[in-house]
Symmetry: C2
Subunit: 252 residues, 2 copies
DNA sequence: TCCACCATTCGACATTGTCGAACTGCGTTT
DNA sequence: AAACGCAGTTCGACAATGTCGAATGGTGGA
């Protein structure tokens, strides 16, 4: 989005909401004012507006504020509004049914993967992802899939922004040339695998989803504990994930 | 929230976001301006601000806008921020593991139940709920649980606002006195059941969650196809849901 | 009872948000 | 190829509003 005029009071109000991304504590008017460098009465007016419309809620006992449920409603609207989510969901449900592992749907935004849908599989009780969460691209199966099918100019820019590639788990790829070879392998096989690259003990198998212009717009994955996924199972999951991605690609 | 001063430009920006709750189509600047009765340049400034901060996204091909992923991120923050969600989640996962049906966590807002967490069970593939969604209280198990343990004055006000009780499914309770008797039964048993009252073919078993002041602040439920839930299973689910609600109540 | 501090309100005024006019771009029609 | 229609975007004047310091009210602690 090119720089254009920004309405200051709207930007300030959104910044108030974003304060709550970084904390799990309720915040008082004074705390919000201090953290954003606003006067208390300015903060109060913005907070009051957000609260009246359901974006913040005040705890009557201590007058502190927390995020309101309207944001859950809008989050749901983001998903309902997304043709990718709508088309992918039935396939995600089938994958969960078949493998009992957690299935994710992700897109790339500003060089990170964002989870836009997740269906919880009963075997993967400790997969800690959530819708709206962001993760790095270089060490996740979904991220590598999206990188693999990205145009070279954008890929170069994004890789540059990721340096140095930080080790996160036993098998994290930290060398850019090795990562490029890995992306080439993903292009050839159509499947990306995170074998303890992002989170120790976790494995993830992903495939890219293309729009009708042939651009990779999303990636779908099955994740679970590495201990619970044999080589044979990896093969079957890969086949089914690739097939699902292909079907979804054909329907958007 | 008492009426206080509202910052007009913030309220307008939030109204823009809320336009997308009612549609799954992208919207143009002109459409947004028209629907909100604003001039195009006013709408453009608000939209541009929301887009720069990630709350709207512009499709470069046709210049139309859709909701941005920042709202998913904030939706996730709402859940992480909620002590009820944090404490309930492990119990929800156990219930899904044991019964393979969908488990919901809900609260009451403005006379409706709002789903604040959902864990998908593999047997309940066509439960159409989503986090952020709202449903009526009089014909849902979770809603009836929250009504049952509500103070009488508030209960009276909310019941008045629900009239007439509209039939939604074969067994919807449409008589207020019958509903009151049902709420009394729920108080006695500690369990609410929706046996095809809200959605034909669906059954739901719920229990209230109390805070340390003894107020019902949430309800937890197991939902599935009625055809797949025998009387014996209803008993077992009731027992476990009640136990889970009790454990959650003790930890918040 | 007093004090400290936060929430909330008030009102003056400086800043900004609004919007009509104009410009740019693009698809369609002639 | 030129003209037209309409939407996106920009510009600038100015009226409306958002800002904030001062004041008030409320509450918990000393």
């Amino acid at each position: 989005m090119s720089e254009g005029r920004v309405i200051q009071s709207v930007a300030r109000a959104l910044k108030i909401l974003e304060l709550f991304e970084r904390t799990t504590m309720d915040l008082s008017v004074t705390e919000i004012a201090n953290q954003l460098g606003l006067s208390k009465s300015t903060a109060y007016g913005l907070i009051n507006t957000l609260a009246q419309k359901g974006y913040l809620e005040q705890n009557p006992r201590d007058s502190r504020y927390s995020l309101g449920l309207k944001l859950l409603r809008l989050g749901g609207a983001v998903q309902r509004h997304s043709i990718i989510v709508r088309r992918a969901k039935p396939y995600m449900e089938k994958l969960v049914q078949e493998f009992s592992e957690t299935v994710h749907l992700t897109v790339e935004r500003n060089g990170v993967v964002v989870y836009i849908e997740k269906i919880h599989g009963e075997r993967a009780v400790f997969v800690q992802s959530s819708v709206g969460a962001e993760n790095p691209m270089y060490c996740t199966a979904v991220g590598k899939c999206l990188l693999a099918f990205m145009d070279e100019a954008k890929l170069g820019r994004l890789l540059k922004g990721m340096l140095p590639l930080e080790r996160r788990a036993p098998n994290t790829i930290t060398d850019v040339e090795e990562l490029r070879r890995e992306l080439q392998t993903i292009r050839e096989r159509g499947i990306g695998i995170d074998d303890e690259e992002h989170v120790p003990g976790l494995m993830c198998i992903a495939a890219p989803i293309f729009n009708h212009s042939g651009e990779a717009v999303a990636a779908i994955s099955v994740s679970g504990a590495k201990a619970g996924i044999s080589s044979k199972l990896v093969g079957r999951i890969s086949e089914k994930v690739a097939w699902s991605a292909q079907q979804i690609s054909g329907s958007i």
